[in-house]
């Protein structure tokens, strides 16, 4: 089968990427700066791909993704630091609680459309952040100490699962239902699609993976602060998706990699960093307003197997 072949190709590429990096790290060729950058790229890809499901596939313009990142980060940190449970359990629980938060936020706010939805999700994300800011149990404004547990292996396994699940979801009748909501909600409804259900499911699934990313994120630093999860973080994730091309999964992955690299290497020029970063964004949007990939996937260029297609 065509699809099965695609899966094996994806698996082989993943194993090669993982193996190479893991070898370079354990052989000491990559120092901790580079391995940290790679982990950071992995986390950003998870965030970009999970928001791609909500905005690119389902067409619901949510700009509160950092809120779910915060939920995952804090919940998983509580599980490892306060309850002393193993790290994988903490990541999973962080994801589940973030998905629940996604349900609670999504059910009322997904009735809204367009800019109203954007404002509502932004508001909810701020509420989540301020809740953590005011809970002394997690350190409040002073932040929470977290041990460094995130490794390349954890990051890569989570990344692999995220992309696989979202690809499989998109390439099924459920993914098509989500795309039909994006394309024409009235027609989708008239064709027997429960549009509210699919909007909420996509939102909850996206929040789940944002929560997973949160678990990796919090254990990659030694401290988490509520200010890390402000609306600027939400916009960072949004930029990955828009720059990659709305509706393109590989676009989201590529732009997450590129932008993380750009902002990492610009750290050497702290005075001009934000100016240069903004210039990169402006130039890309001027010359590729449809995003780096448009609605196409990287596999379209090989013409071999059709992967998680946002578009056709």
């Amino acid at each position: 089968m065509k699809k099965a072949k695609g899966f094996w190709l994806f698996l082989i590429v993943s194993i090669i990427v993982y193996g190479t990096v893991q070898f370079l790290i354990s052989a000491g060729i990559l120092n901790s700066f580079y391995s940290n950058t790679l982990i950071f790229i992995g986390i950003n890809i998870i965030l970009a791909v999970s928001l791609h499901l909500v905005i690119g596939i389902t067409g619901q313009f949510s700009i509160g993704h950092a809120g779910f990142l915060a939920v995952g980060a804090y919940i998983s940190a509580i599980f490892t630091m306060k309850l002393h449970l193993p790290f994988p359990v903490a990541i999973l629980v962080g994801g589940i609680v973030a998905a629940l938060a996604g349900l609670i936020v999504g059910i009322p706010s997904l009735r809204l459309k367009g800019d109203y939805l954007a404002i509502a999700t932004l508001g909810f994300a701020e509420i989540i952040r301020i809740v953590f800011l005011n809970i002394d149990y997690v350190g409040g404004a002073a932040g929470m100490q977290v041990s460094h547990l995130t490794t390349w292996t954890y990051t890569f396994v989570c990344l692999f699962i995220t992309i696989l699940v979202i690809m499989n979801f998109t390439n099924s009748r459920h993914g098509r239902a989500c795309i039909s909501v994006r394309e024409n909600e009235i027609a989708a409804d008239a064709m027997g699609i429960n549009t509210t259900f699919y909007k909420v499911i996509a939102f909850a699934l996206g929040s789940f993976f944002a929560g997973i990313a949160g678990g990796l994120y919090s254990h990659n630093f030694y401290i988490i602060l509520p200010t890390n999860f402000g609306f600027l973080k939400s916009f960072d994730i949004l930029i990955f998706v828009v720059l990659g091309g709305l509706g393109s999964l590989s676009g989201a992955v590529i732009s997450a990699i590129l932008l993380t690299l750009v902002s990492t290497f610009l750290q050497d020029y702290p005075e001009t960093r934000m100016i240069l970063y903004s210039l990169v964004l402006i130039i890309v949007m001027l010359y590729r307003p449809q995003g780096l990939m448009g609605t196409r996937e990287i596999t379209d260029f090989f013409g071999k197997w059709k992967s998680a297609k946002g578009g056709n």
Binding site: H174, E183, G311
Partner: protein, 262 residues
């Protein structure tokens, strides 16, 4: 007539603020009939379609499909009960392929769950395969199979109209509502469309209600016609009766003037 009608509308209406868009709208459609709904612009034809399909909740009256009350059901549930429709202004899923457009409509007839799709269980593959085959069948009937991988937005206008009908059929309706299917078509395309409607009606044992401005089409294929004007039903009957109905002539051409054949 004896049997209970497939669709029964009893004095249904809707009011937007102070405006009564449609009121006291009653109609009966029996299994297998092809019924037309006509009226001047702004008469409330599309509004009554929206009432039937659950887009609007009627503020008065009852809508029954096979005796089951539809009032207040959301559109997707109405579709699953057996009413599917096309739109006056084409509403295809533009970025999806022609085949996927039909697959979306077949969605609610498939059973495989989200979990089975994510884990790629056998039920996902068998379900998707069945969807693909069924959707291709529909495309073949409408001679759209050669466009199956084309994006819907790239089809010529007439083919988009056909695709919309194919998609509506794939949802498995008992009653098909066509909102101006011939709008913007040339006479040849309209003729082909008439044949197509007659064909699918026989093939799928369908009941059809259609809104149309093209009088040739309406008079040519409808068995019974309802006429709306200013949100009120002003006439019903066979094409012959409608053609000579004084109220219909008045609605379309204005009041009769006394100067007869001089």
């Amino acid at each position: 007539m004896g049997k209970t009608p497939l669709l029964q509308v009893q004095a249904a209406g809707i009011q937007f603020g102070g405006l009564k868009a449609v009121s006291g709208f009653s109609m009966e459609i029996h299994q297998g009939e092809l019924v037309g709904l006509i009226g001047p612009n702004g008469a409330g034809k599309t509004t009554s379609f929206n009432l039937l399909t659950g887009v609007y909740v009627p503020t008065e009256g009852e809508i029954l499909l096979e005796g089951k009350r539809l009032n207040g059901l959301p559109p997707y549930k109405v579709t699953r009960l057996g009413i599917s429709r096309t739109f006056q202004n084409i509403r295809l899923f533009n970025e999806l392929s022609v085949l996927d457009n039909v697959k979306v409509a077949y969605h609610s007839l498939a059973k495989h769950s989200i979990i089975s799709s994510i884990l790629r269980l056998p039920s996902h593959f068998s379900g998707e395969k069945e969807m693909e085959e069924k959707s291709l069948e529909f495309l073949k009937i409408f001679q759209l199979d050669k466009f199956k991988d084309e994006k819907a937005k790239n089809l010529p206008y007439g083919q988009q109209r056909r695709l919309e009908i194919a998609r509506a059929l794939a949802a498995g309706p008992k009653l098909l509502l066509l909102d101006e299917p011939a709008a913007g078509m040339n006479p040849q395309e309209t003729h082909d469309l008439m044949e197509l409607i007659a064909f699918i009606r026989k093939q799928f044992n369908l009941t059809i209600l259609l809104i149309e401005h093209d009088m040739n089409l309406v008079m040519g294929i409808c068995e019974r016609i309802y006429v709306l004007d200013h949100g009120q039903l002003i006439a019903k009957g066979t094409p012959e009766e409608i053609r000579n109905h004084p109220k219909v002539i008045e609605a379309y051409l204005g009041e009769e003037v006394t100067i007869d054949h001089a």
